[in-house]
Amino acid sequence: MSGNQAFLDISDVTVAFGRSRVPVLNGIDLKIRRGEYISVIGHSGCGKSTLLNVVAGLLDASGGGVVLDGREISGPGPDRAVVFQNHSLLPWLTCYENVRLAVDQTLSKTMSKAERHEWTLENIALVRMTHAKDKRPGEISGGMKQRIGIARALSMKPKVLLLDEPFGALDALTRAHLQDQVMQIHADLGSTVMMITHDVDEAVLLSDRIVMLTNGPNARIGEILEVDLPRPRDRLALVADPRFIAARAAVLEFLHHRHTAPGLAAA
């Protein structure tokens, strides 16, 4: 396969709920290269999470389809690991057991028991959570839970990592810290990532391309912005970088000038 060919190919995806005539998403076409970091940004209710759920297989599209690595997806699977917005760790399992469950479930055919144990620890170490591996989700902070959520997703060796507003519920400092970690992991592992976000800075900092959705319902791709910033990126150095500022301005201009939040426009 050549590098230019789409690794994750979302073609003409339309989603309509129930008997509603107006679809939530209308004709979404998006081709993602291997190793690319894509952010999908848009106002609340524009259907960003719906798009991610279709790619994850948790939701069936009413029209169109998704092809991953040459195969049409049907139903959810570990090749498209999801990091959920609210972490979704199982509260009765420890951090280790949460990751181990995913490892046992997805890699038991290719790895021995000892290898699975090592692999679980390795992924927990990757998000620097080794010190709390035997704690339960109720005993750790929101940022730590999200890190375990990321470790769980990575441990499945997914072809594409789907992040559903992964840092939305965190405070600004924790968020910055986790963004740096995700950037590092993306650089180290070369993962293909599709991230849903409503944070402009986050999108510009992390992404190779930013996909901007118009307001829903009937949302479509309004614009795709290439973020032409060299990696590794440093958040402090970027603050004054004209390319960063230009990219940021372009997204803000799309979101706030051309496609104002529906609630604000009415008010």
Binding site: A81, V82, N86, S88, W92, Q105
Partner: protein
């Protein structure tokens, strides 16, 4: 007006200076204080109620014995719950044990059946629509109303008593399990879907643990109802058991024995409830509140 505002300001420094000086030496009294605050109120209330009872039951026309008479009459029963003179003349421990054995069998059966049926109607809309109305009617039937029917069906006291326990305690277990299964968060189902957890493993690793706090609520209500039902059922079926002991004491006008038995029944019921809560806390690893 000015004077009244100034007074507390003047008093404050004296208090803040005195406090740090007190801190390093916690006397025995201050250390025992938290315990005393917990233990003393119930002890005082029990003493007060005892005195009230003594006063009320000591009059000329009193129909019930006062605590002093209960102690005098039932001294042997209170002090030695373990004697066994053969037949029905046993200490309260043996009667309680017989009752608890019936509860253990009946409640185990109802826990198994209740959780199984609860899982079914929690999962299947069709099963819920079919069964729920019937359960809602049946669960209001009082325990003892089942007894004649079960005696007719089993023709023996022991299985009849166990059936009464079963049929009394199974409803809250079914209903709570079903609610628990229906309330398993979509997030957990999504996680299971992404890692392709299916079949028995899905039930065992996701649904049961997620519903466990609800299930244990049902079990706790169920064990309480079992204990209520067995006392009543034993009064009618006879044999060894705390229920029949009470009925037997009534027939021989031994009111003091009845009062002692009531205390034991209450304490055992309380312990069963706490035990169930503890098991729930351990099994759900703290996600259910004890």
């Amino acid at each position: 007006m000015n004077a009244s505002v100034q007074t507390p300001v003047a008093a404050n420094p004296a208090v803040t200076v005195a406090e740090p000086a007190m801190m390093p030496v916690p006397t025995l009294a201050t250390r025992l204080r938290p315990y005393a605050e917990r233990v003393l109120p119930p002890v005082l209330v029990v003493l007060a109620l005892g005195l009230l009872w003594e006063a009320a039951a000591s009059g000329a026309g009193a129909t019930l014995p006062p605590p002093s008479k209960v102690w005098a009459d039932a001294h042997d029963l209170i002090v030695d719950p373990f004697f066994d003179n053969g037949g029905l003349d046993k200490g309260l421990f043996w009667h309680l044990l017989a009752s608890l054995q019936r509860v253990a069998v009946g409640f185990t059966l109802s826990a198994i059946a209740g959780i199984a049926v609860g899982l079914l109607i929690g999962t299947s809309k069709l099963a819920m629509r079919g069964l729920d109305p019937i359960f809602q009617v049946l669960r209001t039937v009082p325990p003892l109303a089942w007894l004649p029917l079960s005696l007719a069906a089993f023709r023996e006291a022991q299985p009849s008593a166990i059936f009464v326990i079963f049929i009394t305690s199974v409803w809250p277990i079914i209903i709570n399990t079903a609610v628990g299964v229906r309330n398993v968060p979509q997030d957990y189902r999504n996680v299971a879907a992404v890692i392709r957890l299916r079949g028995p493993a899905y039930w065992w690793r996701i649904i049961l643990p997620a519903a466990a706090p609800y299930i244990f609520t049902g079990l706790r209500i169920g064990v309480g109802l079992s204990w209520l039902a067995i006392i009543a059922a034993e009064m009618l079926i006879g044999g060894v058991g705390i229920g029949f002991f009470i009925w037997d004491a009534w027939n021989s006008s031994n009111l003091s024995d009845i009062i002692v038995a009531l205390f034991y029944v209450g304490i055992v019921g309380f312990l069963l409830d706490r035990l169930m809560a503890l098991v729930g806390h351990l099994v759900t690893r703290g996600t259910a509140t004890a």
